[in-house]
Symmetry: C2
Amino acid sequence: MSIDAWDEIRTAYHVARLGTVSGAAEVLGVHHATVIRHIDALEKRLGTKLFQRHARGYTATEAGQDLMQVAQATDDQFTQLASRLKGRGDSVTGELVVTSIESLSPLLSPVLAEFQMANPGVTVRFVTGDRVFRLEYGEAHVAIRAGTAPNEPDNVVQRYATVQIALYASRKYLGDRVLPIPEDELPNEKFMGYENMDSRAPFYRWMEDKVPRHNIVMRGSDGRSLKHAIRAGIGLGFMQTWEASQYEDLVQVVEPKPEWAAPLWLVTHVDLHRTAKVQAILAHLKAAADSWTLV
Amino acid sequence: MSIDAWDEIRTAYHVARLGTVSGAAEVLGVHHATVIRHIDALEKRLGTKLFQRHARGYTATEAGQDLMQVAQATDDQFTQLASRLKGRGDSVTGELVVTSIESLSPLLSPVLAEFQMANPGVTVRFVTGDRVFRLEYGEAHVAIRAGTAPNEPDNVVQRYATVQIALYASRKYLGDRVLPIPEDELPNEKFMGYENMDSRAPFYRWMEDKVPRHNIVMRGSDGRSLKHAIRAGIGLGFMQTWEASQYEDLVQVVEPKPEWAAPLWLVTHVDLHRTAKVQAILAHLKAAADSWTLV
DNA sequence: ACAATTCTGTTCATGAGTGCACATCACAAA
DNA sequence: TTTGTGATGTGCACTCATGAACAGAATTGT
């Protein structure tokens, strides 16, 4: 059975500490009648006299002194807690959880690593997965979403960068073909796509639209395996321009189309958005985006 | 700067523990609106978000988890305190401070020692002194007072035993005198008295009245030295009958007079009177008095 | 797909707790 | 002795925190 009158204990603590009801009332910022009532209620609740009353003030009994010691410790702990929380709100320390779809991982990882090195006090956790991590359940501080603008309530959404998408193939696949390949001949090429058909990404809808089923020769569930397949020369596949540019053996078969481009969104929960830590990572992400050449 | 909203912390603790406002409200026995208000107020006070709100409930942020740990410890300590105080009210343990005038020390000491052996958990402190120890300042649990009935407020006074006083002398002083000495010849004898003249004890007023100054040959500040002086044969002196009867060499010169008798009073502070410890010592003192043969 | 349940969040009337004023008492100083 | 100060204690008016009711939203069960 726990005590459900912490404020009364706090009142009793100050009375025991100062020795008088009036003094405690002044410190607590309440009327001395309130202090007396708190003491009476607490003694009734505990079934023990905590103080001996006399005209010069209240002196604590053994029980009262015991309570004072416990309350003293509590007061110290609460004070420490308060300063700790105040400091935490203004400084970037502790855990920082960032989530995004898996395909943005190679883009974001170095930025996050950079952020961690700039803020040694913070532990960055970068979680990716097929399921959407929900900010409102505290699963992450920041989410980088792609596609249509998310409009969940209680989430603050900011426009971020835009990822350009183009069609790539390896030199091995192309051989000595002349580029560019005319657009109306593209459906005859072999393609690769994602495992889950319900991907609403515009470039995949373009592919499902234009390319006959039998020419989609491979599907993968993650971007890494698709990338390897393209480089192995199985066929054409969509890639982000910045990622493809890192590989010498990949050739841009079709230039990025505006309708393929995927907008990115920075999403944070409203309860965490104003904290220094979240603001810091947002600023860092934006600064990194400025140095990107995605177009 | 300490926190002055312990109840709000308690509320937040239960919210963090249970995960929902409704659940916390039920445990706390308050309306869920109250819980929401407490959380909002506490977050505003601390300047930090403690929870992320969503339709399924509240999940604690890092700050909230920190608070929960501290509050958990506090709750444990308060629970322990409560059970400790409850036990203390019903059991006779800890310190027991008894005060009386110094002259009652030989009468009470063995009784208190007996009480301590019957209650091993208690530490008896028997304080005597010329100054009156005040119960209302918590200086003692029980006082044994002599003389006129004390009527301090907030003190509960009970009639105790009556100490009989008589005039004694040693055989050495009396020699082969025939007893009793006629009352009108008593002023010619040598007397001993207390140092402080303002003693309002009736037998001393009798002495100051009847005996001329030059026959009061010695004054002492404590009973022990007077007792030794009487046994050494310096003169006559007042003693309590029960104490004098323990010494073979002392002779009762004048029988105890009713007007010399000193009534004893058991005095306790009203705030402590109902505790088991005080009740136990009072019962023990009364039982000891029943076995006395003071008359 | 729809209903039921279970949360949060807000508004408004009410009552418990608070503040005020005054009485009382004890101690100290003039 | 008297006066002044500073403490506890108590009745009364009032305010603020609380509780009730309702609305909205999301999840769960059928």
